[in-house]
């Protein structure tokens, strides 16, 4: 024990955690700033948060191609981690951009909101760079606890409380699974470091048939499946996504989900490689189940936020196709897809922020009747995001799905790709329905309450640029994803 502590102290390498360190320090400092700021004034905290995200982003980019190991091998900031960290940073940045005016409209401008997002992001970064089960768990907990608060942030609104509480109970439950699984893995291999576990399995190949090991692996995966909202562990998603403040919903559907994918990929591809044959079957079934459940239930939704919640379940299913492929293209596909998804989904949620009234009313299909005529730019932007979510060229939705499905076909899973494509066909219907209401029906109202908030508009513009750029000239980013692929 003495030795371990000694070794850990000697191996501290702050470069390996620099981006998340910046965000944690900024988060804690801004919490103090929030306390001493006059009530209702939050804009400066938002801008400072964005500034710290930019700094963290620059540090992450500078570390590209320069893998840093830290804390006695429990943290590894490689390209894989850097790419996922950037996704989380972008998601957090977009979420903050769309938050300030929204919080004012909802009458709840409280400064603690932004530091919590920063800390969530820091947790997500530990998760993506963790090579020790304990580090991953710590990251997951930091991320989750901040998100529990954020999901129920509007404490005087019942549906928001419901979202927070539901997320907390089910989240705690799933953390239990995760921790139990990790404990079993530790019990079998005697270590929590993922590479050591892999080495142990290499030395003792019969471990993969050990009941304790298999149970541990599956329990741990269950914990991750919960976070990425894979069916049948998705039950919390619609209610939480619908009840949480919209920017938080957007953030949750992109950043933390990407982080959970990252940890899932790292742990399974390294530790559970021996179970590959069985696990691909599990992933296969879950991927199909997830996209089918998400798409089929979304067909029947009238509430736009809830519809997007189910659609985000379906998209997690598409991303899981990359897991089944279990190769470099597959994981690079997930990287690319999560980035694409961040732009298209957060853009769609940003539009919902603008068209909603105070108290989140009017976010139904009827509520956007004829919107395309009264607010043409908003209509065009929303259409671009919807076409991207459908997966039509020339948007990024197409290139993203293309990458994922090409990986699956390359590994011989043609039927999986066929089912994925069929699912995209089903999803057309509910995305198109939004457009039908927006454009094919005469406007009933003049949408006078829809104000184009500048910062939110900026986040929409960034998302549109992202969706079109990744759709038309995806080459350079695909190259980066390939370099980061596992």
């Amino acid at each position: 024990m003495e030795n371990l502590v000694q070794e850990a102290i000697q191996n501290v390498n702050l470069h390996a955690v620099m981006p998340s360190l910046i965000l944690s320090v900024a988060g804690m400092a801004l919490l103090l700033v929030a306390v001493f700021s006059p009530r209702g004034k939050t804009a400066h905290i938002a801008w400072l948060s964005i500034a710290s995200l930019i700094v963290a982003g620059i540090v992450t980019i500078m570390g590209w191609n320069d893998t840093q190991y830290g804390f006695a091998g429990s943290v590894q900031l490689d390209n894989f981690a850097a790419f996922f960290s950037m996704i989380c940073i972008i998601a957090a940045g977009l979420a903050i951009l769309m938050s300030d005016e929204y919080l004012k409209r909802e009458n709840f401008p409280v400064g603690e909101y932004y530091p919590l997002i920063l800390i969530t992001t820091a947790g997500a970064m530990w998760m993506v760079s963790g090579t020790d089960l304990i580090t991953i768990f710590l990251g997951l907990e930091v991320l989750s606890v901040s998100l529990y608060i954020l999901a129920g942030f509007f404490r005087d609104q019942v549906r928001c409380n419901e979202a927070g509480l539901k997320y907390f109970f089910l989240g705690a439950f799933s953390t239990g699974f995760l921790l139990y699984g990790m404990a079993l893995l530790y019990g079998v291999s005697g270590t929590t470091k993922v590479y050591d576990i892999a080495a142990y399995i290499q030395a003792n190949p019969d471990t993969t048939t050990n009941v304790m090991f298999v149970a541990g692996g599956l329990l741990m995966l269950t914990g991750f499946f919960f976070k990425i909202a894979a069916a049948p562990f998705h039950m919390w998603t619609p209610d939480v996504y619908q009840g949480a403040p919209t920017p938080i919903t957007a953030f949750m559907s992109a950043g933390p989900k990407a982080a959970a994918f990252a940890a899932l990929i790292r742990v399974t591809f390294i530790c559970l490689e021996g179970m590959q044959d069985h696990l691909t079957t599990v992933f296969w079934v879950l991927a199909v189940l997830t996209m089918t459940v998400g798409n089929l239930i979304a067909l029947n939704q009238k509430d736009l936020k809830r519809m997007l919640a189910y659609s985000s379940i379906a998209h997690a299913g598409y991303a899981m196709v990359g897991l089944v492929a279990w190769n470099e293209i597959g994981s690079a596909g997930i990287l690319f897809y999560m980035l694409v998804y961040t732009f298209m989904n957060m853009g769609a949620f940003a539009i919902l922020i603008l068209i909603g009234r105070s108290g989140e009313e009017n976010l139904t299909l009827d509520g956007v009747t004829g919107l395309g005529y009264k607010k043409p730019m908003l209509g065009i932007a929303f259409s671009i995001f919807l076409f991207a979510l459908m997966g039509l060229p020339p948007t990024a939705g197409f290139t993203g799905k293309f990458y994922i499905f090409a990986g699956a076909i390359n590994s011989g899973y043609i039927w999986l790709a066929v089912l994925g494509v069929l699912n995209s066909a089903v999803s057309l219907y509910y995305y198109l329905r939004i457009m039908i209401f927006m454009y094919f029906k005469e406007p009933q109202e003049d949408y006078a309450w829809v104000k184009i908030y500048p910062a939110t508009a900026v986040s929409i513009v960034i998302s549109v640029i992202g969706v079109l750029y990744l759709g038309i000239v995806p080459g350079s980013i695909m190259q980066l994803a390939r370099m980061a692929g596992f």
């Binding site: 197409f398 790709a417 995209s424 066909a425 057309l428 198109l432 039908i436 094919f440 080459g475 190259q479």
Partner: protein, 492 residues
Amino acid sequence: MAIDFPLLSLLLFMPLAGALVCLVLGMGNSTAPRWVALLTAAGVFVVSLLLCLLQTPTAGWLFYEDYRWIEQFGVRYTLGLDGLSSVLILLTAFLQLLAVLVSWRQERAPGVFFALLLVLEMAAIGVLLALDLILFYLFWELMLIPMFFLIGVWGYQRRFQAAVKFFLYTLIGSLCLLLAVISLYLLHGDQTGTYTFALEALKQTELSTTQELIFFFCFMAAFVVKVPLFPFHSWLPDAHAEGPAAGSVDLAGLLLKTGVYGMIRFAFPLFPVAAQKTLPVLAGLALVGLFYAAWVAYQQVDIKRIVAFSSISHMGFVILGLAAWNQTAWEGSLLLMVNHAITTAGLFVVVAMIEQRTGSRSLDQLGGLWKSHPNMSAFFLLFCMASLGLPGLANFAGEILILIGVFTVKPLWAVIAVGGILFSATYTLRLVQGTLWGNNCEPHDKQDLHSREWLVLIPLAVLVVALGCYPQPVLDLLREPLSALLLVGGMP
């Protein structure tokens, strides 16, 4: 012949630029967008006419552009133009010019309307030029979006259903195409080590017969829906009946053509063995469609639906010609396709004029227009006669070539198909009789053709007569490319 100037890209991006200008100018709801659209469409027409005149009757690419695009996947931006594509592009540009003129008085969001028309033109031209399968797929899908909105926003009462039906039908077909494209690409990459979507390279892929059949069916799923071949046609009558006049012109003139083009440029040369094996099926469906659509057309009351079903019937004829798989029949098919586009566009334009004047499209309420609107009726009669295959007018030239070509290989098919011409005479005569003669209806607008309508109808009428009497220039352009494509496919 190598010209450094990227003429093809100019052709492709001119409509896009025009569309953006339309969108910006359309903000003020002014009349500016229609002028921009007219100028752009005219510009595209002039360029494509130039390209046609520059053609020499050779089989190679007259113009060719090739740039890197997405290197990770070997996707390239490759455009090529030969006689086949130049004829169809000229047709597209011509009809789009008319479509702009037809919708001149568009009052509902004109900026967006004309922008969508131009985007549709760009997508159609892109489909006809692309030689990289992903680029092709991109334009193929891009055609859907503007058409979806044109039907859904500017259409008639049941436009939602029509637009959604159109979108779902065609998109499900194209998704099959996408899957096949990706699989073919990976297979080719595994075999040769170079991953590419280039059409020429993929033709070299070695496939087992089963693989070929599967790929072929996936490709054809996309194309037969667009054509549309019986029994995948049910979206078309709705899309026509509920869509605006310009939408119908574009559907008949642009979209339907791309299906046939996709077959002869992509599906047949890529999978020749599978194509040979399925020709009888294709011919059977074409024949059934020929009669079925004619029969249904005879039962219709709505004159726009009659024209829509006649269009399906004619496309059956075109596919029959392709299934005969020889030079004469193929030339006839392509010629009929061009002629059919012009005649049908003329019919849809006059139908829209009739509706404007009488407020009805129902045979029950129409009649006696010859007396009240002699000029308009004369044009309608001309297009109807062309449609039923009167010698000397456009469709006849194509039909006779198809029949000759089919007769040399499968006399029985040709004999059956002749019956189809008889059928088309029945429903067309009923259409003429019900609208132009018989009981007088009372049109609320007594005005016969006005100047803009003359401007639309005269070029169409001239072409109908010219292509009927002297189709040679078109056939000259088509000959070499078609015989090259036939050669790739091999003899049956």
